[in-house]
Every structure is written in C-alpha cells, then in structure tokens.
Symmetry: C2
Subunit: 382 residues, 2 copies
C-alpha cells in the first residue's frame, strides 16, 4: 500500500499538518504590512533558534545557497581558507571555495570518521602571519552521519584571532545544541527542510559582527546572494527579492511549534531517537557506519554487511512505504541512512527499526527476526 509515505531521510523531513495548511494559504503581497509582520516575528524566532543576538537572514534557495552566501560575503579572491572534508558536504564547500578563487587548504578525515580538531589547532597555531581568513566546515555531515566537534574547532579559531569560522549547520541546527554566540561561530547556515520541520525552499544564514566586518571588505562578485541587500531589507522587515511567501507562512508556524516544545526538549527528542535507532540496528546485528562518540543526532548511517544497502532500502520503501536514504558516491550500496530529523516521533523510529529488521530477514535467509531491535529501542524510548 502506497500513498502513506513516511520520510526517514535527512531532508526533506516530515511536515506537521498545521505547517502544510499554512503553506496552502493564498499569497499576500511581499511588500505589505502583514508580510512585514511575519518577517519581523520569524526573524526574532530565528535568533532564538540560533541562540544569537545577530541577525538571521532568510534566503529563498537551498542550504547550499546559504552556505555559499556565507562564504562569498565574508571572503575575497585569493584569501586562504581551511576546509574540513569528511563527507559529501565537506567536499561541496571545497568546491564552492575553489569556484570563487579562494586558496584552499583541506583537513581531511575518512568518511565515517570525525574531523580531528587537533589538526585545525596545529594549522591555526602555525599561521603566525595570520594568513588564514576562514575555517569552513560541516557540523553534522549528512552523508555519513558524523557530528564534527564544532565547539572545539571554533575554540581553536577564536585563539587564532583573525580567522572566521563558517559552519554548515544544515542538519544540526534544531537537532542538537548549536549556541552560535556562546561558541563564537561567525557564519551559521541552515535549510528549512531539516530540523525546521518544513518543506524545502528557504535557507538561513546568521552572521556575527566579525563576519559583517569582513563583509565590508569582501570583493567576491554576487548579487542574488549579496547579504548586504538582505541586511538592508531586514531593517524594514523585508526582503530584497520576492521571497517564497508561502514558505514564510509555514516558517512561522513551524517556529511556533519549536518554541512551544522548547530547545532542550527538541534536542533530547533527537538524542532519544538517535539512541533508539543505534540500539535497534546493533541489536539486529547491523553495524553503525559513523565512529562511536561522533554520531549525528539527525541521521544514523548503517552498514548492513552482507546485504546490499540499496536492496534493503528499496524493499523497505516498497513494502512499508518508509523512505530511508542511501549511501552517496562510493558508499552507494554499502550503507543506508535513517533520518530521525525534524518532525519524527517515537512511533516512526520504532516502525523503521521493525521494518528494517523484517526486511533483513527477507533478504538474508540466515537472519531470523527476533524483535531484538524493537526490544533494544523500546528500552530507550520508554
């Protein structure tokens, strides 16, 4: 039976009915007082979500647009940046930086392993001429389910004194603690189809005072992603270009839901679902791909060993109408990924574990469904 899809991918994530109802309203003028009120309210709510006093700007575009905006508004041609790369999104920011002629040094870790903060420390300490203008990295590496130690790396960047830190928090913001001001983050980028519990189409970029100072000197060409234009419009609770008005309607509703739940409750919900997913998979005998102690609360990457991950994923979709994510690039067929990000409840997590266990049995005749996955998960959820 189809038409009853449950999304368990790291975006788009499931969307509450009230958010969908809001998106289906008739559009209003984006220069109207009513719309300006929505921009004003959501701007304040976004500051709350980012735990910051800085302005959080909303762009109509994907999370990539927000990250690109953060990079090209704070840097100038030829400047040196250090990019962390331990997955597909880390690779992407290297590509963006190179596309704009930045001088990129890469700190690598194997896919599934976290970036080593000590490597960043060593590079930053060795930079006595203060040539490094920015450290760019992904907090939650969606492709591998790894959570990089953004807090510690940010501390090393603070100690450097000159470099900015630009963070892709697309699948961490709204899933775990990302206190922008407390951690001293300069640019935080995120996207609506993640912890925001919304459809895709809006992205968000928050910039510290230091980032805005760098922005004044930035010479990289831009127009649609020129954050100065967004900042000037934000003063009037407006947008420089016609925004996705209907997505703003839903943004307000989803942020209301998050505020009602409270940040701590949102984070512990994600932690609980993550723990249940991991325990469930391990109890079934499947191994977790990402390194222990460095796992993202948004997504659990699983290595199903002697089963092709794509076969499992397709079977779970076909029989149970649960959409899991596959492995990307060289990991295709090797891992599948369970998204427990955004509007996911305990039932969704239990159902996914049960469906995966039943599917493992159907693909691997040596495997007997014992219910051990559910048993382990239930212990955590209850």
């Amino acid at each position: 039976m189809q038409e009853k899809l449950t999304l368990m991918i790291p975006g788009p994530t499931p969307v509450p009915e009230s958010v969908l109802q809001a998106i289906g309203r008739h559009p209003i003028g984006h220069r109207s007082g009513e719309f300006q009120e929505i921009v004003k309210r959501t701007s304040n709510q976004l500051k709350w979500l980012h735990q910051t006093n800085s302005e959080v700007l909303t762009i109509t575009g994907s999370g990539t647009a927000a990250m690109e905006a953060g990079i090209i508004n704070t840097l100038s041609r030829g400047e040196k940046v250090v990019c962390g790369e331990n997955g597909k999104f880390g690779e992407r920011w290297v590509k963006v930086a190179k596309a704009y002629g930045l001088n990129v040094e890469i700190v690598r870790a194997d896919w599934g392993q976290p970036l080593n903060p000590e490597e960043f420390r060593a590079i930053l300490e060795a930079d006595t001429n203060k040539e490094i203008s920015a450290v760019i990295l992904t907090h939650s590496e969606t492709s591998t389910g790894v959570l990089n130690d953004l807090q510690t790396i940010s501390k090393h960047v603070q100690d450097h004194g000159k470099s900015l830190i630009i963070a892709d928090c697309v699948t961490s913001l709204g899933a775990c603690n990302v206190p922008m001001d407390k951690w001293g983050l300069d640019v935080v980028a995120s996207g609506s189809q993640k912890g925001y519990m919304m459809p895709p189409g809006l992205s968000f970029v928050a910039m510290s005072d230091r980032a805005w100072q760098a922005c004044e000197k930035s010479d990289l060409p831009k127009f649609y992603l020129d954050l100065n234009l967004y900042r000037q419009a934000a003063i009037k609770n407006s947008n420089p270009f016609t925004p996705a008005i209907n997505l703003f309607f839903s943004l307000e509703v989803s942020l209301n839901l998050l505020q009602k739940e409270g940040l701590d409750a949102v984070f512990s919900r994600h932690a609980r679902h993550q723990a249940a997913a991991i325990a469930g998979m391990e109890a079934i005998g499947l191994s977790i791909f990402s390194a222990k102690g460095h796992r993202s609360p948004a997504i659990t990457a699983v290595n199903p060993k002697n089963i092709n991950a794509e076969d499992l994923r397709k079977a779970v979709k076909e029989k149970y109408d649960i959409l899991l994510a596959g492995g990307q690039d060289h990991l295709k067929g090797q891992i599948f990924r369970i998204g427990h990000l955004g509007f996911v409840n305990d039932r969704d997590v239990l159902a996914a574990i049960a469906a995966i266990e039943a599917t493992v049995q159907s693909l691997d005749k040596k495997h007997q469904t014992t219910g051990d996955g559910i048993k382990a998960a239930a212990k955590i959820l209850s």
Copy 2:
C-alpha cells in the same frame, strides 16, 4: 471587511485553489522516482510554454536569480554587454552586470517610454570588431508597464552574429507571445509568481544552443547558480540541490491549467484584461503612464493626476481589499499599477475599475462616479 484579499499586483498574483492544494501535499524525496517524473513532466511543459526545444531549467529562487544565472553562465569578466534600461528591472540587470565586472554600455529610455530598437541596431552595427557579447533587456518592464520590442531588438542581435540576447521575461512569459526559438532568444528568464499562477519561489531559465556554447567559456564564479550543474541533473530529471519540492507540486498543476487553456487563449485573456483596464481608467479621466502602443499585457500603470497615487492605493486596499501596486522609486505617489497578470478573471478587472472609480470620488470631491469606467470596460469584456 478584510481576509478576502484580491491581488492586482504584478506578483505575487492570485493562485487557483487546485494549485494551492497541490502545494500543501506532504513532501516526497527529491531523489525519488516519483519526483523525477514530476521534473520530467514539468520540463516538457516548460518547453511548451517557452515555445522552445531548448532545456528550461528550474531554480529555487526569485526571478532575479534566474536572470543572474543567465548572465553569469554565458559571460566572462570584462566582456562588453549592452543593457537596456527604462525602469527598475532594467536598472537591476545593469547592477548585476557591473557586480560581475562586465563592461556595460547602457541604452536608456525614460521611465514609461519603450527602449528604441534603432539605438540597439546602431550600436550593434557599429560594433564591427564584434566586441559585444550580449544584449540584456527586460521585455515587460514591471515598474512602468512598458512592453519593450524584444522581437525587433532580437532581430538586430541576430544580424550582429556574435552577441547573445538575454531577456527578462518575468512578466511577459505566459502573458503574451514570447516564442523563444522563433525570435532567436538565447536566454529567457521568468518567475513562478507571475503568468505561472503560482506562489513565488521557483524561477526558470531557458538557454539556446548558442548560450550553452558561450557557457563553456564563461569564467564568472558561481556555484548555486551554475547552470551546468542544473543541466547535468536535468538529464536525470533531477536537481543539483534540494529544490522547493512543494512548489514543484503546484508547478505541475498550474502548467496543466495553462495547457488546458491553450497559449493563444492565455494571451488573449491578458490582452482583453489589459484593454479593459486601459479603457476603464481613461473613461474615469485618469491617464495611462506608459506610452501608447508599448504597453505590457501584465500591468497597467496609471497616473491619477491630482490625487496622490499612494492615497488611492491605500484607500482601495482598505475599503475594497484589492491590492494595487504603487510606483517605485521616484514614481512613488505619482502612479499606481493594476496587475492583470496570471489567474485574473473578468470579474477581478471589473471590480478593480469600479473600486478605483469609487475611490477617486472619495478622494477628489470634484469627481462624480458615473460608471463610465465600467461602461468602457464592459464593452471590451463582453
């Protein structure tokens, strides 16, 4: 009585219920077969709307993003371009071209007047060294209600032999005839909240073979707006970045509606509403701002003479809940603009004329409502 808003602005435009229902569906995975089918179908429908065999790419972003993409994917730093400028959007493309270091020559006309094709011809003919790489202009200048003679200017560009023609068709596509292939247009940009009868958030850029050839040599930096990435993804009926999935749902429905109506009927609907709006305004004694014979089928700009246009606009909104557009920049207070673009019916046009006439009387005690506006409009509509 509020909460019963009628949009008569040049975007966002009114949206049919079926399109709003589609946008409120639960998101699906953007890498799923089901979504690829939507991309495939809408891609073909977009070719139909553009009257082209070229690929039409869909970007999550505003019309400005699509125009910027067209410019920065076909040109290289320092190249010479000729920009038409007779309104706010013409000005914008000059800004974009300059932001990317292009060498801009401007062909100007007063706001309200059309660009003179002869000026383009003269400049292109004089360019015997073939230094001009592109002519950039706005077809329907939304800020003034002027329709520039894109067909004739495009002919002069063809005669030049080397230059591309890049056209902002944001408020002309889906309102009047823009046969991309027949006219030899190289880049056509548009946005969803216009003739598409959709909420804002998607934009579209169609590129000719010549434009793609230029794209291979283009050295301007880009990533989110790199159309090569969109083209590669389009081969697989996909998108390079997470698209606004819910807007794609509505895109398919709105394009179905347009196809059912037929291009000729869509164009004659806009022409009829335009003629009624002009006749109505003139019968009331208000003058049309844009030059006769060069008026956009999307929007009628009106000069209410001894009445402040903003006062009239506010009164029409407050009393009748019809949102008209104001004048932009130096035209603020001098003109108002009636949008008759997209999902507008004869009743909307009649109601707007009637509301404007009644409001003129309330603001100008010398004016008596005679019904002449409706009389003139009805003659055209019936």
